[in-house]
Amino acid sequence: MTDAHGHAGAHAHAEPQGFIWKYVFSVDHKVIGIQYLVTSLVFLLIGFSMMLLMRWQLAIPTPPDDFDPEKLSLIRSFLNWLFPESMPYGFMDPVFYNQLGAMHGTIMVFLGIVPLGVAAFGNYVMPLQIGAPDMAFPRLNMASYWTFLVGGIVLLASFLAPGGAPQSGWTSYAPLSVVAPAGQTYWLIGMVIIITSSLFGAINFIVTMLNMRAKGLTMGRLPVFCWAQLVTAVLLLLAFPVLEAGAILQLLDRVAGTSFYIPKDLIYGSTVFPRAGGGNPILWQHLFWFLAHPEVYVLLLPPMGIIAEIIATNTRKPLFGYRELVGSMLLIGVLSFIVWAHHMFLSGMRTSLASLFVTTTLTISVPAVAILTCLLMSLRGASIRFNTPMLFALAFLPMFAIGGLTGLPLGFAPTDLHLHDTYYVIGHFHYVVAPGSLIALLGGTYYWYPKMFGRRMSEKLGKIHFWMTVIPMNFVFFPMLIQGMYGMQRRLAVPVEQSHNLPVQGWSLIIGIAAATLFVGQIPFIINFFWSLRSGEAAGENPWNATTLEWACPSPPPHGNFATEPEVFRGPYEYSVPGHKTDYWPQDEAA
């Protein structure tokens, strides 16, 4: 790059010819973004399918009194045929349950939500929003996608390993994970590959945003979505190497006979485990959560950025408190590095550390409350358009609020004593990630689809999809809070084997029905996604009458994005400016 706003580096690649180089091994950030979008949506569907099997098991965990193996229901016959060994008669073997549980979590977090929020939308939208022709390092960008895909395939391939997929939870706590069958080795190798991919992406995002912004696009004029991506990239860059190192140590424990996480005199298989020992299982938890808590904000910040964009566009007014929003995101970024041990109050970690981590954890709620306040107050004085992306964005606010609020009794050590490791935790973080992040990401798909493919998605199907997503989701996750309050532990294949869970078992049937409905509710989305590619209404350059730079180039943008380098004259959300001829004033429109 020759000067602060130079694009020399990105122009290094000419438009490729031929299908393979244009659409498969592409270095164009837009193609890579769409590759990430499709791949992560497929992974989300895979992860969801696994959970459907688990929810089936939890809904009816044991044979009813009148159960007759000769007369199986259609679903049971199907499951019996599909998984004769791990789901005989449609009842799940606990080992298979543990495998699906570990893989559901891993897939949803590392192969679903993060790649969708960061890599898909970040790759596609961020360079457009900053007026750049591509990412700073296009080849690194391509390497990031293909590395990610390989990592994802390695993780899925673990099902074929002797002994099956990883079965120690997505958290892979040692020593259980160290003594687990071979699938865990796949998990560790897959994670190392995925983390490497993330690091490629994070470096690329930071360099691109700092160096390739269009003329006049100062940091103070950067859309909130880009700020969110910037903070996220820094979190990934600083937190992920810790887990990568931790995973390599666990890999060595498994394959090279080391004892990083293995204490002396472990008894396994009724004999002393042949290791020198001296390691500490809690070390793994520290390394894991040092990533995995910032990871929560990696899951959350890009969706929050998406929400801010959609809300600004569809309220037709400037966002409330741009500085407060950006400042809160930066503060969350910093604080997210000093809260990790709130996952470990009861782990055997020194108990006097708890008060410190309770304090930092409760403190991080302050910027989170500030962000929600800003987004809520942005509605005041607005002229709200209720299109599909806006419905998803609006639903995010009350849904994520449940996720945020339920974090309070978990982050507060005395109440965590009762709620730790119960379904309350599951309900809490799913409210953050599913009715929270995922809802926002679906909204983002509807919002930027016209830019990606030049056509709008059907509003009618979109609204059906919206209601069939938001309503069942609440019936899936709210009962979990009730079960958790009653003390039902997570990760139980057959919860009714513990009699204290019996009074709240009935909710699991409701959750199962709601989960199946949620699955059906995604069909309109899938149809809409493919149908609109050819038959959607033509979108034009700026279908939502929005102000940010991605709407200043054709839909879909050609190779190199902008015919001439755009120049930015104002902030990102100049809507309803008094005296201006339209109710939106694009950033690049000369006064």
């Binding site: 020593p175 403190t363 509605l379 005395p414 730790h420 990760r491 513990q498 204290h500």
Partner: protein, 271 residues
């Protein structure tokens, strides 16, 4: 053990430890505040959606009044949280987790967790725990009790059965033989991970007589769900009686009875 489903704020009944009342109070307090905040926020949200919907003749406002006042909710939340920490977290966490009652005035029991069972070791009349060693662990001697240690002679070892006296603190010194487990009795409103290679401590003072379920709250493998034990809370005299019975059952002349103390082979087999 199975309680009728009443309201009780959705918490399992009865609350059976000396600190359960404090924890229930906090759970209820937090949830009342959470619901109140939520209702206020959602009410505002709905009002905004209706009042500021797009319609003919309605135009959005360019200005956002009250930006500085928007720090108020965040500030109030922060003040509330600081109050929570100082008034409740510090004293309650301190009492439940950072300290134990005086061991001399408590029942001391060792819990040795394994896939997928809870082994309890009582010190017997001498008040001394017999020495344990990983090298001595066999299928019969699950906790690896050393028969050569005089202190181990009168120890009581039970599987999945914890008996404790009512109204007196019990201190569990907990270790794991294999992977991480977690001792949870929902009626006590407390739990604690049990980690191989170190001892963690959980104490409770039961306030209600009866039998409660011990569940494992940390994924420990394929039998995790089935890792269930029972804690029996009985009067001091019933408890003493139970201990005497255990010692009698474990006497060498009577090793064959059910629930007996494991037989320790005289010579270790060459493995």
């Amino acid at each position: 053990m199975r309680e009728e489903w009443g309201f009780h704020w959705g918490l399992p009944q009865p609350a059976a430890s000396s600190y359960a009342g404090d924890i229930d109070f906090l759970l209820i307090l937090l949830h009342v505040v959470m619901v109140a905040l939520y209702v206020i926020g959602v009410a505002l949200f709905v009002v905004f959606l209706v009042k500021y919907r797009a319609r003919d003749g309605h135009r959005a406002s360019y200005t956002n009044p009250g930006e500085s006042a928007s720090f108020l909710p965040a500030g109030l939340v922060l003040a509330f949280e600081i109050w929570l920490i100082l008034a409740f977290e510090v004293p309650i966490w301190g009492a439940v987790k950072k300290s134990t009652p005086p061991p001399a005035e408590s029942l001391n029991v060792k819990l040795i967790a394994q896939q997928f069972a809870w082994n309890f070791q009582y010190p017997g009349p001498d008040g001394q725990f017999g020495r344990r060693s990983a090298a001595l662990v066999t299928a019969e001697n699950a906790i690896g009790l050393d028969p050569d240690d005089p202190a181990s002679k009168d120890d009581i070892v039970t599987i999945n059965q914890l008996h404790v006296p009512l109204g007196k603190p019990t201190i569990l010194g907990m270790t794991s033989k294999d992977v991480i487990h977690d001792f949870q009795v929902v009626n006590f409103r407390n739990k604690q991970d049990i980690v191989p290679g170190m001892e963690t401590v959980l104490w409770f003072e039961p306030t209600v007589a009866g039998k409660f379920e011990i569940g494992c709250a940390q994924l420990c493998g394929l039998g995790h769900t089935k890792m269930v034990g029972q804690v029996t809370i009985e009067t001091e005299s019933e408890f003493e009686e139970w201990k005497k019975q255990q010692v009698a059952d474990a006497s060498p002349s009577d090793t064959g009875t059910a629930d007996a103390r494991p037989v320790i082979p005289a010579v270790d087999s060459h493995s």
